[in-house]
């Protein structure tokens, strides 16, 4: 409970006072509500008296009316939060999440599937904010109103108050038990769901093969078994949860019966007045709705709880440490100095004792099997994450001493896959240098061999990427990304297999564009086709996170080591014919 409160306050951010105010108002209104209900004691007494005491009844009704009005005003104020402030809270929460994503290490960003983050930022935020006000109010109402009522009852008849006190708090342990059962079962059903989901994926992927063997639909044993297992777990969960749930929703009715039975007994004994009993029944009836709603909204509670947790998890990712007094980069040679790096949640080193130097304006190639650490090296230069030991320096400056934004401005990256924004072609290139003129953008687009295909687009540079959908080929997208990099004109260029996903026709155009891009830059390139990097100043051969060989193409071939083996295997594979 306290944890949820603390989390709610965290989410409310700078609107914390407003939320606190709403909660305080809710408590006051609920107390008032309890007092109003208590008015039924004197009111019914007045109406039962013979003769009926109408004067007192109308006085009480007047007070009743005034208090209802005041309670309404307070609730009205409280609803400010749900109707007005919540929109701002959602706005601020999204902005804070957005800010956070800008400042966490890319590694942390990469570990989360982008779908998850979307859900956190759009879905979870809406769910939370939509419910945060109303649920808090409901909880407060459910807790406060009965408490006040019990207090008032205590003044009328302590025996009935004790009965209420024993009975209604029962709801708490029953609710707790239900929640814990739900949670236990949730874990089981998550597993069953995951199993069924992977069977479904398997089924979908295997349909071509499964069709050939007629193992589809109801005859797909594996799928059917998983679905049945899922259903069994669901039924078990159902059996566990339904009894406490329904018991809770019937609790008030049973409680009223007990009050009537005890009250009637006391009345007959002459130790309780009839109007007091009737008032008590009317009041106890009012506990029904909040409890019933609370039960009905259990699933919403879960959603909110999960949403809070996920938002908090994102908020808690530590940001990349930024130096208090950043150093500016002036030279662009790259040094790796006994670098050790391990990815989060991995036990093995991704890089072990890696040292090398890439002089300014030199070309350094990284080769080696997949998983050997090539991409890790290129990522670490852009401070994808901080190294565990050793240092990466650009010029003489440790990159941890550099402002991350400044570091990023010094590096251009060209990957295999290109991300384009739903904006115009012009703006997609311009994002590399927001103050570039149209002329500058067009000049780099030409240099990157983009001109031909842009000219063919319906609105040229003003064409929106979203409007042409997937009609740009991989090579065309790649050339746009190279134009971006050219416009940025950063002194360091990282190339990660930039042409490996392209067909022959676009490959040549992209190669031309890259040739333009890398002129006079410090270049680090990962290329699978060794002939591409044969002219590199230095080739680093990586295996299992270690540099095992280092030198020029000629030197490495003379070594007759791993590089030579790779070179020869590739020459052979190039010769492959489908028909021998």
């Amino acid at each position: 409970m306290l944890k949820t409160y603390r989390r709610m306050m965290v989410v409310a951010g700078s609107y914390k006072p407003q939320l606190q105010k709403a909660l305080a108002l809710s408590i006051i209104a609920s107390i008032l509500q309890g007092i109003i209900f208590a008015l039924f004691f004197p009111l019914l007494s007045a109406l039962v008296a013979s003769p009926v005491n109408f004067q007192q009844a109308w006085q009480l009704l007047g007070l009743f009316g005034c208090l209802v009005f005041v309670e309404g005003l307070i609730r009205w104020q409280e609803l400010d939060f749900s109707w007005l402030t919540s929109t701002d809270v959602a706005h601020e929460t999204r902005l804070r999440l957005g800010e956070k994503l800008r400042h966490i290490p890319l590694q942390a960003l990469n570990q989360r599937r982008s779908g998850d983050l979307n859900v956190v930022m759009s879905g979870n935020v809406s769910e939370l904010v939509m419910w945060i006000g109303s649920l808090a109010t409901l909880v407060i109402q459910t807790a406060v109103v009965p408490s006040v009522a019990v207090l008032v009852t205590l003044l009328i008849d302590w025996r009935l108050a004790v009965a209420l006190l024993i009975f209604f708090p029962l709801a708490v342990p029953i609710y707790r038990q239900m929640r814990s059962r739900v949670k236990t079962n949730l874990r089981k059903s998550v597993n069953a769901d995951a199993d069924a989901a992977s069977r479904v994926v398997e089924y979908a992927q295997g349909l071509p093969v499964l069709r050939a063997n007629n193992q589809v639909g109801a005859r797909s044993q594996r799928l059917q078994t998983a679905l049945e297992c899922q259903r069994t777990v669901q039924r078990q969960g159902q059996r566990l949860v339904s009894l406490p749930l329904i018991t809770m929703s019937t609790l008030v009715e049973v409680g009223i019966l007990i009050i009537i039975a005890m009250g009637a007994l006391f009345v007959v004994q002459g130790t309780l007045s009839v109007p007091a009993l009737l008032a008590l029944i009317v009041i106890a009836m009012r506990f029904t709705e909040p409890i019933a709603q609370l039960v009905g909204l259990t699933s919403v509670f879960d959603l909110m709880e999960v949403g809070l947790e996920r938002i908090e998890a994102v908020m808690n990712i530590p940001a990349l440490p930024v130096p208090p007094v950043p150093t500016a980069l002036t030279r662009f040679d790259i040094h790796f100095d006994q670098v050790y790096f391990r990815y989060d949640s991995h036990t093995q080193w991704a890089l072990q004792d890696v040292s090398f130097q890439a002089p300014a304006r030199s070309l350094t190639a990284l080769v080696g099997p997949s998983g050997s650490g090539k991409t890790t090296i290129s990522r670490l230069i852009g401070r994808y994450a901080d190294v565990q030991a050793g240092a990466i320096r650009i010029g003489d400056v440790n990159i941890q001493e550099v402002d991350p934004a400044h570091l990023m401005r010094s590096i251009s990256v060209v990957f295999q896959d290109v991300y384009l924004f739903d904006d115009t072609i012009l703006n997609n290139i311009r994002m590399a240098k927001p103050d570039a003129t149209d002329g500058e953008v067009e000049a780099v687009a030409r240099a990157a061999n983009c001109y031909d295909f842009i000219a063919r687009l319906p609105e040229g540079y003003a064409t929106r990427i979203g409007d042409i959908g997937g009609t740009l080929s991989g090579g065309e997208r790649q050339r746009l990304s190279i134009a971006r990099a050219m416009l940025k004109n950063a002194p360091i260029v990282l190339l990660d297999e930039p042409t490996s996903a392209l067909d022959t026709e676009s490959e040549v155009a992209v190669q031309d564009a890259i040739n333009q891009l890398v002129v006079d830059k410090t270049v680090i390139v990962i290329a699978h086709r060794l002939s591409t990097i044969a002219a590199a100043d230095s080739i680093l051969v990586l295996e299992d996170g270690n540099i095992t060989e280092q030198g020029s193409h000629r030197e490495l071939l003379a070594n007759r080591g791993r590089y030579t083996a790779m070179w020869e295997a590739q020459q052979q594979a190039q010769e492959w014919r489908v028909v021998a």
Partner: protein
């Protein structure tokens, strides 16, 4: 064949519940019963009060009424529990029915539908969308029974007790309704604006999150953050506008539907009527007990409405999957005579994209004799993959015909067709099962010796033996332990065991694992020996020896012949060939000063 769960595809949340409609009706009825008995139990209170207020209370009468109330509460409890159980169990049953129906249906629709949507989308339909129905089917249906019974029953009882007070009570309801109407007077319009803004904000969030990786390589994300912020502002403004318009009426309605105003109205009117001497206290009590329930009855339904919307969206998607037309099956299936493939005047466009220039294939005619090698060549988007996929009937041709061994593929059953054509694409598919069973999937009745022979031919035997349990090792889901090349070789072993006379091969598979390319290439050689082979070619050298090369350009077959003929022709192929050689010889050079001519590293 199992009986299909639906006679026609469901179109909404109610029709999707057709297979369990009996149970749902039961759940609604039980929900209504529990509501009725629960309201009924309250009616025992006024007679008890009357007895207590009388000069000489009769304890016997009091206990009888109390006993009746206990019985009614017991019935309410039991029927509520039953309603809840019936609806939940029915919902679980529905989940299995729907998932099985979708699995059945997906087995009959064109494979192209499955391939283009991908296993991710299919998982979403079959798991998440089906799950999203649960909230409605299981939780809401019993409440529907309650939501209609309580107000109706309360109303009848109240009118019977005292019509004047009943009207006073009901006065609150229309007032609330009017306010809600006011709050929602341009609901549709506002909702539209909100939906649009919401869609935009979701799009921007997706772009912001997915693009972050790239954006961060430019700066600290400030450029895209500005875009994000701008559309977030727009979204929030839309929401504020909407709230500003509807908040007054909305807040009033919220306050009015609280029990207090109703109780106040009843107490006041009741006191007045008692002053007139036309109302007795027990009757007033009926109203004090029942009236707030009348107002409160709508609440749970309102709070569950957003879950209902999710359910509706899920139901629509499931309905549209089940409505996808199935691949027509022949009435009198035929069997191919041999392993030749003939395409005559094949035209194809993807349905929904038939806007002229989106034609994927246009009037393609090609004869592929049995036992020969045909390569499909062309730029990406030229139609190579589409053409190759039409042969195993991923889709049916729009015009023209494809025949295997003289028989139109549409005149064969799926099983026959699949037993004639194997295809080896880059996306490997392994069951979460033993390696042996994965290979046997090609021919379930194969002996262990045959499986092993196929694995040997696919260059997989050695690494399989090196696995902890050899052939009985479970292949990790999505291959955590096997490398891409190893997985590829297992799927090739499967195809070898299947021994279908026609093989459609994506040449890129030969290079799926750069470190072990040679092994995969040997495996492919074993698979394709003595077969009719159709290759989707990306690298020209590997198909230099093909019997025929078909060159596609924007969906048309533009050239056909062997390598030497096509190079000599000086057309599209010879240009591709020249480009290829140029690309192969690319050497990255960093310094501006180096203008050394490219040297041929092949030499």
């Amino acid at each position: 064949m199992t009986q299909s769960a639906f006679t026609k595809p469901p179109t909404g949340i109610w029709s999707i519940m057709a297979p369990i409609k009996g149970r749902i009706a039961g759940a609604i009825a039980l929900g209504a019963l529990s509501a009725a008995t629960s309201v009924g139990s309250l009616l025992a209170i006024p007679p008890i009060a009357a007895q207590l207020l009388s000069e000489s209370p009769d304890a016997g009468v009091i206990w009888r009424w109390l006993g009746l109330a206990v019985v009614l509460v017991a019935i309410a409890f039991t029927s509520r529990l039953a309603a809840f159980s019936v609806s939940h169990l029915a919902a679980f049953k529905l989940e299995v029915i729907l998932r099985t129906a979708m699995a059945e249906h997906l087995a009959k629709v064109p494979l192209g539908y499955v391939v283009t949507h991908g296993s991710g989308a299919i998982k979403k339909w079959m798991q998440d969308d089906v799950q999203s129905l649960h909230a409605f089917v299981a939780d809401t249906t019993p409440l529907i029974g309650q939501a209609y019974t309580i107000p109706a029953l309360s109303l009848v009882v109240m009118l019977a007790t005292d019509w004047r007070l009943a009207i006073a009570t009901l006065g609150i309801v229309p007032l609330g309704m009017i306010l809600i109407q006011l709050a929602m007077h341009d609901y549709a319009e506002q909702r539209d604006a909100y939906d649009r803004a919401n869609e935009e904000i979701n799009g921007i969030i997706i772009e912001f999150v997915q693009g972050m990786q790239v954006v961060r390589t430019f700066d600290d994300g400030s450029s895209s953050f500005a875009r994000f912020q701008k559309s977030l502002d727009r979204f929030t403004q839309t929401l504020r506008d909407w709230n500003a318009k509807s908040q007054m009426a909305g807040r009033l309605a919220t306050l009015l539907f609280e029990p207090l105003p109703t109780l106040l109205a009843i107490a006041a009117v009741g006191t007045w009527l008692m002053g007139q001497g036309t109302l007795t206290l027990p009757r007033l009590l009926v109203f004090l007990l029942l009236a707030p329930r009348l107002c409160g009855a709508f609440k749970p339904i309102l709070t569950l409405s957003h879950l209902l919307n999710q359910s509706k969206a899920g139901a629509l998607r499931i309905g549209s999957v089940l409505a996808e037309p199935v691949l027509p099956q022949p009435k009198q299936p035929e069997h191919p005579q041999d392993a030749s493939v003939t395409l005559s005047h094949v035209t194809f466009f993807y349905s929904g994209l038939s806007d002229g220039d989106r034609t994927a294939l246009q009037d393609v005619s090609l004869t592929i004799p049995a036992g020969t090698v045909t390569a499909l060549v062309g730029a990406s988007g030229a139609g190579k993959t589409t053409l190759a996929r039409l042969i195993p009937r991923f889709w049916d041709v729009t015009e023209g015909a494809i025949a295997i061994g003289g028989v139109d593929v549409r005149q064969m059953t799926s099983e026959t067709l699949m037993s004639w054509v194997s295809f080896v694409f880059q996306d490997t598919f392994l069951l979460h099962d033993t390696i042996r069973d994965n290979i046997k999937l090609g021919r379930p009745d194969a002996t262990d010796q045959e499986v092993e022979a196929a694995a040997r031919a696919a260059q997989a035997h050695d690494f399989i033996l090196a696995l902890p349990n050899g052939y009985d090792t479970i292949a990790g889901e999505r291959g955590s332990r096997l490398s891409g090349g190893q997985r590829q070789r297992i799927t090739i072993a499967r195809a070898i065991l299947q021994d279908n006379p026609i093989v459609v091969l994506d040449e890129a598979t030969a290079f799926a694992d750069p470190e072990n390319a040679a092994l995969i290439q040997e495996a492919i050689a074993a698979l394709t020996r003595h077969k009719t082979l159709i290759v989707i070619a990306h690298r020209l050298p590997s198909i230099m020896n093909a019997d025929q090369i078909a060159v596609l350009d924007r969906g048309r077959l533009v050239e056909r012949g062997n390598h030497d003929e096509l190079v000599a022709m000086g057309g599209v192929y010879s240009r591709l060939w020249a480009r290829h050689q140029e690309a192969q010889n690319w050497e990255l050079r960093g310094r501006a000063s180096t203008t050394v001519p490219l040297r041929n590293t092949h030499a």
